[in-house]
Symmetry: C2
Amino acid sequence: MEKCLRQMRSSGSLHRTYMIYYLRIFAAVFILLLIIQFTSSIRSSNTLKASLKASVPPSFFPQIIVITPTYRRSTRLADMTRMANTLSHIKNLYWIVIEDGNNKVKAVEKLLNRTALPYIYLPAKTPPGYPRRGWYQRTMALQYLRNNSNLISDKSKKSVVYFADDDNSYDIRLFNDYIRNVQKVGIWAVGFAGGALVESPDVVNGTVVGWNVVWHKKRKFATDMAGFAVALDVVLNSTAVFGKSCNRGLGAPETCFLEDLGLQTHDLEPFGFDEEEREILVWHTKTAKVILNKRVADTNGFFVE
Amino acid sequence: MEKCLRQMRSSGSLHRTYMIYYLRIFAAVFILLLIIQFTSSIRSSNTLKASLKASVPPSFFPQIIVITPTYRRSTRLADMTRMANTLSHIKNLYWIVIEDGNNKVKAVEKLLNRTALPYIYLPAKTPPGYPRRGWYQRTMALQYLRNNSNLISDKSKKSVVYFADDDNSYDIRLFNDYIRNVQKVGIWAVGFAGGALVESPDVVNGTVVGWNVVWHKKRKFATDMAGFAVALDVVLNSTAVFGKSCNRGLGAPETCFLEDLGLQTHDLEPFGFDEEEREILVWHTKTAKVILNKRVADTNGFFVE
């Protein structure tokens, strides 16, 4: 019996030794996997530092819906390429691109496909009577959004709508720090808009009290299209569009749209005014038209618009 | 003894049960970690599809050294922002930025810092006698490169040098598919250069036989600055710069530089000519100057150049 107990003890301790052995292997593999996970996350953050925010699963922070009207011109693919490169840094972004034409353009569709962004690309040619300034395309985008909001935003708790033209210049902080944090309607400075170096709301103690603009200061919302973003639910709870009737606001559709959304000045949430050094995060840039010495019909097989 | 053996067996089987139990936990945790690893890698690839190439450790493929001359102007931060957003998608890229000025500009330095790109930012004001077209800044960049190539490229087997102006538009495939694969000197089409919609080498059976350009077709290398890239060792084995004496090539520094590198037409490796649909991956765009209705001195605290 004595021997039997000793055997049992030694047998138990042998099993315990095996177990400790297995547990050690388990711990080593676990640590190794943690290291791989850590180095891979460091490597993946080697684009923009801001992409460190990628560690938050996309659906936990608000979705950004970008509406871009576009049209055929020689510099369009260059502009859309730069814009796609910028938007591709932004997580949980849905891109609605509306072509001013009867058909989609294959090169644009291929460009959108090359990004990993979720998107919809639709043609909607400006009908007679509409100014050809993207009004009809933005209206069609809003209509698409109202009919398909569940399809687009069902995985997100909150979505924010932003109108972004394809030739502007965007700092990625505009999306991650400003647009993403809009509760109802966000407002910020825009470079090179309305004939000014900077167009911005005049903000005192976190409240918009007026407008630092050159062009038509008396507009209720004297902002450029690139200077605001609106919560999706505000858009869905209204019928506001960029209609032909949107001719109030001295020909500026921005104030007309914001008024039609039922917004008031006190609804505006200013961004970027608390900073010690105020920065512009979006510029209303224009790409210079191509000046040809001589029209070269033969592009040597290269696609141009 | 019979009882003892039974006890031992039951004791052994108990330990075995525990071990199987632990191994099951281990397997479950292992599978869980693999799933986390997999989803995180999918999430991190949610920028551009091309970034899937990120799974190759950077030092295994050639490094790209981008040289960018820059200067103060109102649209510069907008242009540099777009360019930084594009370059931030490219792995194993080193950015040499040279300011045409006596001092660095803080806003540019902050912009470069926000990217996770390795870079050097140096001021080098154009001395009298040099054309103010980035020649002196590119020359200083080449000098810096020759003095510090070990510092910049020691981890890479091979490096390729590319001159990229801050207002051009770049498709990320230009870097990943073209520049990265240059052996000696690569050449490709550029949009909107030299008064043409497309400037490109004339390629027959993979060989450059001439130039499809409008402006000064007789140049030995009738290419735009954005249309070629050169292996670092070719640069290091020469003293070629963009000197004041670089006034051959009818005032175009590109052909002068390539000739001074000791290159011949048969050294040129054309890219993008095998494709069924030829595409432009770089455009010589210009950002339109800001037209102010009225000079607004008060930018409401926002920084402008």
